[in-house]
Amino acid sequence: MRIAQYIVDFAFLLDNSLRYQRIKRFFRNLLENDDYPYKRYFDYFMIFLILSSVVIIIEEVKTPIAKWLYFYDVYFVTAVFIIEYLLRLWVYNDVHKIIITEYEESLFLEREFDIKKVCKEILKKKLEYIFSPLALIDLLAILPSYREFRILRIFVLFRVFKLLRYSQNITHFFQVLAAKKLELSTLLVLVAFTILVSGISIYVFEERTNPNITTLYDAFYWALVTISTVGYGDIAPTTHEGRAITMIIILVGVGLISFSTSIIVSAFSEKLTEIRENRIIHSARKLESYYIICGFTNMARLLAKRLKREGVDFLIIDYDIEAVNKALSLGYLAICEDATQSEAFKQINFNNVKAVMVLTNSDMHNIYICLNVRSFSKECFIISRAVDYNSHKKLKLAGANYIISPYVTAGFFAAKVINEPIAIEAINDILIARKNALCEQVEVIRGSFLDGIKIKDVNFDKFKLILLGIVRINADAPTEELRRKFYFNPDEQEELRVGDILIVMGYSISIAHFKSQVVESSLHYDKKI
């Protein structure tokens, strides 16, 4: 009873200890989380250990090795492997959680805390890990260090298998084969059956006449060599009956080989898109912040081009494989998924997504996608394209933060183009950033030379810029839309405040220069303080 109490207390202590949790999380990330940035270095380190130890063992076959290499292999590598094995065993699950659950359950049901049951549960979980294939490989990979048993050296192979853990490519290969388990096992049974039948028959026919076939083992060996069309020729049939069997199993062998090849090839072609998508999602997840574009339509294409040019990362989702291929050929990250289905976003971490753009040509799809994205993330900024004017309201309800309609913009430009073709062209140049003319926002940073001075004292001419206006943030405003207010061509006497955003127009070099000046001057301010 006493011991049980101690165990429960200890479990609660662990559960409450932030430090313990943090350490455990760190090791879990390091060992299991593919998205964890440092895992890669750990993997490289382990791969190096494995390869070096394999090389040492191979070298040892012929020549005696240096003493330090022997120590390195036997003690260091093995020690690392053992530590890794124990850590994996540790992070596989939380023992203290099992104890706590059982304890709480026992309190709830008002029965005695059953320490035996808990132990059984813990043991079961840990054994589950120990007997998982990768863990078995890990364990066997530790064994070759006991060089006294020469046979154990064969386990060096398991060190090579251990590479599986650290390389995604090899894992993918096995995943592909695993997907065709049924076909492959059928094939195996077929091969086994054929070998059995032909092996027994050749044994029956030739055991007495053929000096090469003396045991059933010889017969099976001959059958496999023949059926695989390898045909060493060390054992050859001498009787008519034996030759007849040979002819039959050669024919069967050709069939079996083509069968197995086709299974593996088809498995790969089926899985290839999936693997490619996994890779793309994987590389998207590595990005710290990116946009998602749903629907690779004409508008999306133009946006993607612009984003690419500005060096902004984005991921394209489209359900049409051709559109995806087109995007991929342009060098964009793209996956083929139906964005209206929740599957499409399951693997995406919305904390890193800056905004989702929904740009398909159908309002119905757009609404579905908006709802779908909202179900994953409440905060994510969604911009949707509206085809029909009536859909604006529906899209807002579906969770879109901003709605863009090419029809409205087109209408405006169309009307102006008749009287002001040059001006429209100029505005277009700015919008598209053709001819290097840009419109840019520059924030007034605390302590920069802009902070607190009057507009007339900022020499925009010297910077070769035009001030179009300022955007002032009014934090007290009730709605988001009112919070930002744009003042066009403000009065010269107006004083700039921290947080104001200047809207300036000019060439990219001038703007970059101006921005760097602002930032630089604010740095001096920081130093002074």
């Binding site: 946006l303 911009i383 209408g411 002001e420 419109c439 179009l468 206006g469 955007v471 061509n489």
Partner: protein, 235 residues
């Protein structure tokens, strides 16, 4: 002030509706032609009165229409890009000098329309996609552009041709503080001496303004009007 034109607009779909509305807001006289009666019905609901049912393949009818009314511009605003190309070619074949404006949704069609002889082609997607970019990456700029272009009708932009002997004729661009004196922002000009290309003032080259040059200015409606009055463009 701004010239008013007689415009024949083909198509009253999603684009057509917006375009016609904006054209009417600018004060132009808009005539709408469409082959579908449904579209025209919605046009009449929007308040457009001059409506024609046309058969796009009937050249005689189209010729009569243009001859009867004497339109200044033809606007091809069908949602369907192919119809716009077809119309452009038809009108170019019928009237060589008629000014045609067409909309399109892709670079490919833009090229075709230009080949067909359209005077001006508007790629609707380019404008929308680039606006989207600003909304994402530079929200304050997006806000400002929105305000200047769409939301605030009191801010306008205009191109002004410099008349002979006005006070700007022969003056250096840099020597005039447009923003301080006239409360208008000059974003660029077409300097006739340097060819017909639009040049942004921020390029840093000091231009001598001559009669015939075109200034592109942005400003409050009344400021722009006052500026034009001073120049003698309007009386």
């Amino acid at each position: 002030m701004i010239k008013k034109y007689k415009i024949l607009q083909f198509g009253f779909g999603r684009y057509g509706e917006q375009i016609a509305r904006n054209l009417a807001l600018e004060g132009h006289q808009v005539f709408i032609a469409d082959s579908s009666k449904e579209a025209l019905k919605s046009a009449s609901k929007e308040g457009f009165e001059d409506l024609f049912v046309v058969d796009l393949e009937n050249d005689a009818q189209l010729t009569d229409l243009v001859l009867d009314y004497g339109f200044d511009y033809i606007f091809c605003a069908y949602d369907d890009e192919e119809k716009n190309i077809y119309l452009t070619i038809t009108f170019k074949a019928l009237f060589r000098n008629l000014k045609i404006i067409a909309i399109c949704e892709s670079k490919e069609t833009e090229r075709k329309l230009k080949l067909a002889g359209a005077h001006y082609v508007i790629d609707t997607m380019v404008a929308a996609a680039n606006r989207l970019y600003y909304i994402l990456e530079k929200p304050a700029v997006a806000e400002a552009i929105d305000k200047i272009l769409f939301k605030d009708r009191s801010i306008i932009f205009e191109e002004i041709e410099i008349p002979k002997n006005s006070f700007l004729d022969g003056v250096n661009l840099k020597d005039t503080a447009f923003s301080k004196k006239y409360r208008v922002i000059v974003i660029g000009l077409v300097d006739k001496e340097l060819g017909n290309k639009f040049i942004f003032v921020t390029r840093g080259i000091n231009h001598k303004i001559d009669a015939g040059d075109i200034l592109v200015v942005i400003g409050k409606k009344e400021d722009v009007y006052r500026f034009k009055k001073l120049l003698g463009v309007v009386v």
